[in-house]
Symmetry: C2
Subunit: 264 residues, 2 copies
DNA sequence: ATGGAGGGTTGACCCAGGGTCAAGGTCAAG
DNA sequence: CTTGACCTTGACCCTGGGTCAACCCTCCAT
């Protein structure tokens, strides 16, 4: 006959686990000796091995109880179902590994390789690292919002960067981080942006970015709060009849309505 | 700016989870509006997406914190390690699936196919179902104790069953379950057993069964308590100078010492 | 101004599957 | 007789939140 620790050793579980199984009624309480110690026989060993076999397969203890006390067919059905769950778990695991690999390759976290390449291109152009971080965070949000469309969006951004005016715009915005909000060069940025937007309007690009308005508002307010210069720039644009930043639109009062471009 | 439920909706987590992250310090508490509501910016969204990306990979939240606050290399190392763990998890999962398959094919639980075949063979010989259940439980224990050697042991058992004397022995033992402990036929069982053991001794089989003594004792005490007949049989054998059941030995006082056979 | 719906806030308890500690009884050996 | 190893029960702790309760805040319609 066995003490609890011997039983535990035989079956490869902890003493605590055995007592836990007693408490939840999974393993019957055995007889006690005159000093109150539990004394186990082979039946307990067998039951415990069965319990562990199922529990190691990830079956919750409550279900283990049901299975062990069930008949042959019910048991077989249960095992089939458990195996199906294990297969699903294996699929999930493969999936996770893929995501994790992409994550390790990305710009610190959770970005597709294309986006990382785009950020590197900005970096290569001499854009300020602080601005690149803002861009990166924005892309993380976009990736979270519309993961399926991000490839198309980033491809469009790459094309935009082929335009020298766009490059100049990025460099100016990046430099502007340290300007005073009164700096007259801010107007120059607004000039370039207006020209870029007019051109985008003509070409008909960016008709639908797939982002919802609340999301766009959030990005805009983040931009607005990033620096006094940004605030000033947006104010100038608003005076000229534009509205927004992430998704720029002609303000309703202006002549040509609904024109949209973007600075995601 | 976002309320907590908007933040949760953006990042695909529950409101409760967000608050949980605040409590464990994984996500910084944001500013509150004048009525005490939490107000979030894009920074929280980004942080939360990063958290979920790692957490979905099975990283414990405590470790997520460490990773997110770490530098590039440390982060990359961490991800590598996590991937290693995921691979190990996948291995474990395959292993479990194998065990589960064997379990479903086995005699209700956790027995290799060979053992099931052996039990079926006993059944075919007309051995009492109660005895077969005892055998099955014993095999479950053996499978738990020496899983790597069970194939060899069961093969030996199959060979033993080719001996008509062994078959007779099994049938008698099976019948004996209902006898009175005074039944004279019990001596007949002892006779057969003695002969079998002498033969096993000569052939030199079963020199080392790989079971430890405590385990053998447990099996013996189970046998002893199974019925008064078993008790009587063991007493007779003891009178004749044998000891044990699972691993039968010549008692020290007897002429030829150390002979061992078995009735696993 | 008032009532109700639908947000938000905190706090407390609950789950698996035990780990860990505490306070005390028991047992075998020296 | 003491010591150390074992046993007993009970209580609190962990992760990653779910669920419920009680109450506050805001907004909208009346």
């Amino acid at each position: 006959m066995l003490t609890i620790s011997q039983l535990a050793a035989y079956t490869g579980v902890t003493v605590r686990a055995v007592r836990h199984y007693h408490r939840i009624g999974l393993l019957a309480e055995p007889a006690r000796d005159r000093s109150g110690y539990r004394i186990y026989g082979a039946d307990a060993v067998v039951r415990l091995i069965r319990i562990r076999t199922l529990a190691d397969a990830g079956v919750p203890l409550a279900r283990v109880q049901g299975l062990l006390d069930a008949g042959e067919e019910e048991f077989r059905d249960g095992v089939r179902e458990i195996d199906k769950e294990l297969r699903a778990e294996a699929r999930r695991l493969r999936n996770t590994r893929t995501r994790l690999a992409r994550l390790a390759a990305g710009d610190h976290l959770a970005l597709p390789q294309d986006v990382v390449a785009y950020l590197d291109r900005l970096r290569g152009l001499g854009v300020d690292e602080r601005y690149i971080e803002m861009e990166r965070d924005a892309w993380i949000m976009i990736a979270g919002q519309v993961p399926d469309r991000i490839d198309a969006v980033i491809a469009e951004k790459h094309r935009e960067l082929d335009d020298p005016a766009m490059v100049e715009f990025y460099l100016l915005v990046s430099e502007a981080l340290d300007w005073s909000p009164d700096d007259p060069r801010i107007a120059r940025i607004a000039d370039i942006l207006e020209e870029l937007m007019m051109r985008a309007l003509e070409s008909g690009a960016l008709q639908d970015d797939g982002l919802d308005q609340a999301f766009v508002d959030l990005m805009d307010s983040t931009m607005l709060e990033s620096s006094p210069v940004a605030e000033r720039l947006l104010a100038i644009l608003e005076e000229r009849g534009w509205r927004g930043w992430t998704r720029v639109e002609r303000a309703p009062s202006a002549k040509s309505g609904g024109a949209r471009s973007g600075n995601g």
